[in-house]
Amino acid sequence: MRRSRITLAAALAAALAAAPHAAAQGTSAPPSTDAAAMARARADSMRHPWTEADARFMTNMIGHHAQAIVMANLVPTHSTSNAMKILAGRIINAQRDEIVTMQTWLRDRGRPVPQVDPAGATTMSMAGHEGMAGHDHHALMPGMLTPEQLQELERAQGTEFDKLFLRYMIQHHTGATQMVSELFSSYGAGQDETVFKFASDVNVDQTTEIARMQRMLVDLLFGEPSP
């Protein structure tokens, strides 16, 4: 069955329009008071204590994901390609959900939880410590765009934007897979069930997506617009 491009585009537009609202919901959730969930996290951690490397990964990947969303949010206004809009919709949907997973994991373990503002900047707050001053979390993780690269992307339009976006998102995803490799080569890391599954999923999903983006980029370089 052939899908209708019109309905697909409409659905994506709706999904993207709903994005800021959902992002705000996801990032401003109050500290969990769910005693059962906290108890379960404690029980998990007693069996397989999480390490500093696990917590660092879950913390840093939030900022990494936040930048991917900032990049993908440019697509509706900077690109005219349907394939690009599907790709961006998918990245936004996936990575926004994953940020909630990471924030929940950190909160359940009483760790500082990076909050993401709509511009993609992350600030730290301590779960349960209302009003605690956060600090900007600007360290660039592997593959992240520099402020200059981000501005370059913001200035581009049309096919030039598409090419640059794909190149930078390939770089960005490649960095995420490096972060997973670093995690799993750290002592005691990945014993926690959630961290192991989450990091493995990030690795597989983004590796698959890199291959897809490379094919799209070659199509653009050779002047064949993706369907």
């Binding site: 769910d34 069996r47 998918r90 799993f184 597989v204 980029l217 050779f222 002047g223």
Partner: protein, 646 residues
């Protein structure tokens, strides 16, 4: 295909009523509107429930050491259901589906404890970094350790209440899932295909494991095949590591046929022979167009201070073009590309084929030589994120792949999530080796953002003459759908509970839902073991359910797909008659006559029954010519003739 969840169109009431009366069945054509799955109350054991055309017979919570851990996949042998859990595994006696009895719970932590069974042997997957050879629960902290188990554990369950750990086979990437392949030609061994895409172990932990993608011995880009001698399971070992992804050219996305791809490859080779510029991207040779090549040639010419292009300029570009394009797309051609592993492989030995769900691809494999599977075809799909598993229809003329978008821990069935994402994709098989996209199927009721939901494990139901499948959608519940018409799959039954927790995604829902000997068994991640039965409806008649129950299996590993064979029975003939009523393949008068004759034959015996059935079979054969569903009429005639012989 609609992208958003929206209310189904209700069938005209009169037609619905006529159908229900004519079929003599209870149950509605459509579930109540709005969809009763929407807005269910949250709770672990007191959640709201919605069911349509199926019924929960029993729910058995997991025992204490397993209750707070994750239940995973299922396997079946005789009257037992074996349920994996991240803390080990459980064996339930399901002789009485209303009261399963826990026979064994074996503590032996590993993710994700995928289970299979063959005769007296139980196989369990271990993938995570915390699994231990000694089944201890303390994890493994060292990055390199002799205590770690990543691979396959083997138990002897001859005495179901006293299992014996007989061996373990370590693999480079561990085992996320595995598939037991019973070779019809080899009675002494079974084969186990290991799947999983987690990281490669250090060679210091398991000698021979190579992480580098560009090393010819890389543990990436291959699957492992373990041979298990049935008489000596402790001697199980890896016998081959087939590189089924080698030279995997980017497969066609739907709308493009593999003939198109082959034609593209021929064109590129011809262009190269003519002296045009080509580059290879992910295994596919592409012609670099003039507008891409000209500026590059120009700059080479200018760099040497020239004003006209020479053959030397062309040669220089020919030598460097691949590297230039690779840099542009962030690729490294010295590295292999393509999927590095499969998530799951479903083997169907009766037809010699397997479906592999591997990274961004769905593969069709020839498995007639079990240790050396060969790739026949590959498909990709722009809407698919991560190919998870495969199911053939019973005839082997279709294959369904599922996409576990988000890995199973995310809520991907919200009203805002597109219907093509995290769904099933259905393909027809033509010429035995070509897969043709037909449609997507996704459980159609919008779920909350607190319910992890995406396509997951399911199995065929042995409804004769139809392709019907039950599938687990985690907290999206169970969905039973008919994909006989591959282009128009539709839901015909469901079961769903409200979220485990209304405020956040708490692990829960159905990991796997499989039909086994008359019931549907579901592994509920946090709520234990659920058993269901079908209830008759306009979509599945009582006769079809009865016929399905005549198919008895000695054991079932769903990823080792059995071929259903229906013994001759009155239920089978009546089921086909019901289907002919549904398809209007026989007139009301013909149906009344057939059903009457079947009922009379059923109460007769011996020669009288035989004679009556043979006469009926001849009469039904005569109906075929005038029927719009002649093939089914002949199937009915055949079923009646078989009944006469039985």
């Amino acid at each position: 295909m609609p992208l958003r969840f929206r209310p189904r169109r209700a069938a005209p009431a009169a037609a619905l009523l006529a159908l229900a009366l004519a079929a003599g069945t209870a149950g509605a054509q459509q579930p109540n509107q709005p969809d009763p799955r929407i807005g269910l109350r949250a709770g672990k054991f007191d959640a709201g429930v919605a069911a349509w055309n199926m019924r929960l017979i029993s729910n058995s919570p997991s025992p204490e050491r397993f209750a707070e851990s994750t239940n995973s996949d299922l396997a079946f042998i005789r009257n037992y259901a074996i349920q994996g859990n991240y803390n080990g595994w459980q064996i339930w006696d399901i002789s009485n589906a209303a009261r399963p009895v826990l026979k064994t719970s074996y503590f032996c932590p590993a993710s994700q404890s995928d289970v299979s069974v063959y005769r007296n042997l139980l196989f369990i997957s271990g993938e995570g970094l915390s699994g231990r050879l000694d089944c201890g629960g303390q994890g493994v902290q060292d990055t390199v350790s002799r205590d770690r188990l990543r691979g396959l554990r083997i138990f002897d369950i001859t005495d179901i209440e006293h299992p014996r750990h007989v061996g373990s086979v370590q693999t480079c990437r561990g085992s996320h899932t595995h598939t037991v392949l019973v070779d019809p030609k080899d009675a002494a061994n079974v084969y186990v295909y290991i799947s999983g895409s987690a990281g490669v172990r250090s060679p210091n932990e398991l000698p021979g494991c190579v992480r580098a993608a560009n090393d010819p011995n890389s543990a990436l880009f291959r699957i492992e095949v373990i041979k298990v001698p049935l008489a000596h399971p402790e001697q199980a070992a890896i016998v081959s590591s087939p590189r089924i992804f080698n030279d995997l050219a980017a497969p066609p996305v739907h709308g493009e046929t593999s003939a198109d791809v082959a034609e593209g490859a021929r064109e590129a080779a011809a262009a190269r022979a003519r002296g045009e510029f080509t580059v290879t991207i992910q295994g596919v040779e592409r012609v670099a167009p003039g507008q891409f090549v000209r500026p590059l040639l120009d700059s080479i010419m200018k760099a040497r201070g020239g004003t006209t292009q020479t053959a030397a300029d062309s040669n220089a570009l020919r030598a460097s073009l691949q590297g230039i394009v690779d840099r542009m797309v962030g690729a490294n051609q010295s590295q292999r590309t393509g999927p590095t592993q499969c998530h799951d492989i479903t083997v169907y030995p009766a037809i010699g084929l397997a479906g592999g769900a591997c990274g961004g691809y769905g593969l069709l494999l020839d498995i007639r030589d079990p240790a050396h599977p060969v790739r026949l075809a590959a498909v990709a799909d722009s809407n698919f994120s991560y190919w998870h598993s495969a199911t053939f229809n019973n005839d082997g003329t279709k294959i369904l792949f599922s996409d576990e978008w988000g890995g199973g821990g995310q809520a991907k069935c919200r009203a805002t999530d597109p219907r093509q994402w995290g769904a099933d994709a259905i393909f027809t098989l033509s010429g035995g080796r070509q897969m043709n996209f037909q449609s997507y199927y996704k459980m159609p009721a919008a779920q909350t953002s607190a319910e992890n939901c995406v396509a997951h494990n399911g199995s065929l139901l042995p409804i004769p003459g139809r392709d019907v499948m039950v599938q687990a959608w985690y907290q999206g519940g169970l969905s039973i759908f008919d994909w006989t018409d591959a282009a128009h799959p539709r839901e015909i039954a469901f079961f769903d509970r409200g979220p485990v927790d209304s405020t956040r995604i708490a692990g829960g829902g159905s990991w796997s839902a499989y039909w086994y000997n008359g019931v549907i068994v579901s592994s509920e991640i946090s709520r234990g073991l659920d058993i269901f039965e079908l209830t008759p409806s306009a979509h599945i008649s009582q006769n079809e359910i009865d016929a399905a129950k005549t198919v008895r299996l000695d054991y079932l590993n769903t990823q080792g797909q059995p071929k259903f064979v229906w013994p001759a029975s009155f239920a089978l003939a009546k089921a086909y008659a019901d289907q002919l009523e549904r398809s209007r393949g026989l007139s009301a008068a013909q149906l009344e006559s057939v059903r009457g004759a079947l009922t009379r034959a059923e109460s007769a015996s011996g020669a009288a029954r035989r004679t009556a059935l043979n006469a009926l079979a001849t009469r039904v054969t005569g109906y075929a010519a005038g029927s719009s569903d002649a093939a089914k009429v002949r199937t009915l005639a055949g079923a009646i003739r078989d009944l006469a012989r039985s």
